[in-house]
Symmetry: C2
Subunit: 194 residues, 2 copies
DNA sequence: GTGTTCATGTAAACTGTTACATGATTCC
DNA sequence: GGAATCATGTAACAGTTTACATGAACAC
């Protein structure tokens, strides 16, 4: 049930269309959550059916139409409730670790390629999250600016620092994955040499 | 499609019933994958339909019946193929980080409780994975022993070290989560004091 | 006029969770 | 005899991915 709360989180900053949400999820400035448009549009409709958002149809150009969603008071209550409530901690399910546990079945070259792809993937994301942390700290993120505009000044620091904190968690995880995969490359080389 | 490969991985060590698989997934000695029995039994049937495993019905006691699955040559080929093939790297979707990004909406006590639960959760798992690494290194894990029995001696080191490597990845991630949550506790205290 | 972006959907397939259900065996 | 464990299933539901689809607006 996190998609609906990710949507409420975005809509708590400013009204948006489904396409806007999709762009935010998809942007290189990214996020800790994402979803394809095929999941976003129906979920926004369901949020409206539940009264957590309301929408207005607006026109673009001659015949173009789009639907903009606003969070409602009930939506704000629900979001606050969710933030306060503990999330169940799930057991890990990690296909990459599962596979690495059986690398003795792989060609060394195949294992190496997979570990290199792992490193490249997390280096890219670590960089993007670091850029986002910098942009948040400098208050250069448009959505953050909208959010600060309708929050009292004494809350601004908390708003920024919790977002930075969240992305620093992502960066730490990315670095742990990179360190792990580098050790894996050394291990493949060592075992190949035998 | 990792569940079927997790099942093939287990069955490559020794024949098992669905219940055995469920116990392995569920044991405190744990795993990097898990599934409820309601997912395991149908998947084993599907693996049999695909020819990747074969099964025999065996009796237990007077009227009791159970079905034991053996991996087939086609199953070994499929597993080897999967280990060699790169896994698509997925974008992260982290509900805990999502929520932490909005902790300014939470009561400090609620945020603190959630971070403490996060730490307790990963400390527990880090301990279990560390115990498993020790047990693997000492060759005290029964399933590993079965695996080593029908592998040539020169492969034993690789078999053990790749498994240790996989669990060390889980331990690194757990430690990154613990460090992150501790920083969060400091941040909550700092912002609360303002 | 053509390609890119904006904008929104349905439907099927797949994966995972939760609820409901049954019965045998084993240990005390 | 009763509780815990062994053993296996169905069904409904929730969440996610992928395929298929459509059309307007805008920039070149």
């Amino acid at each position: 049930m996190s998609l609906r709360h990710a949507l409420l989180a975005l809509l708590s900053a400013q009204p948006m269309t489904g396409y806007d949400v999709y762009r935010y999820f998809d942007s290189s400035l990214s996020y800790v959550w994402h979803a394809p448009h095929t999941q976003i549009y129906p979920e926004l409709r369901r949020l409206e059916d539940s009264g957590l958002v309301r929408s207005e149809e607006i026109s673009r150009g001659e015949r173009g139409r789009k639907r903009r969603y606003h969070i409602s008071a009930a939506g704000l209550d629900e979001f606050r409730r969710w933030v306060n409530e503990p999330l169940p901690l799930q057991r890990e399910r990690d296909a990459h670790k599962l596979k690495a546990a059986y690398f003795e079945w792989a060609e060394p070259a195949a294992a190496r390629r997979q570990l290199q792809a792992h490193i490249a993937h997390y280096e890219l994301w670590a960089q993007q999250w670091e850029d986002l942390v910098d942009a948040l700290t400098a208050r250069e993120v448009p959505l953050l600016q909208r959010r600060l505009e309708h929050a009292p000044a004494e809350q601004h620091e908390a708003i920024i620092r919790y977002k930075v904190f969240a992305y620093e968690g992502m960066i730490r995880r990315a670095k742990a994955e990179i360190d792990w995969a580098r050790i894996g490359l050394d291990l493949v080389a060592e075992l190949e040499g035998q």
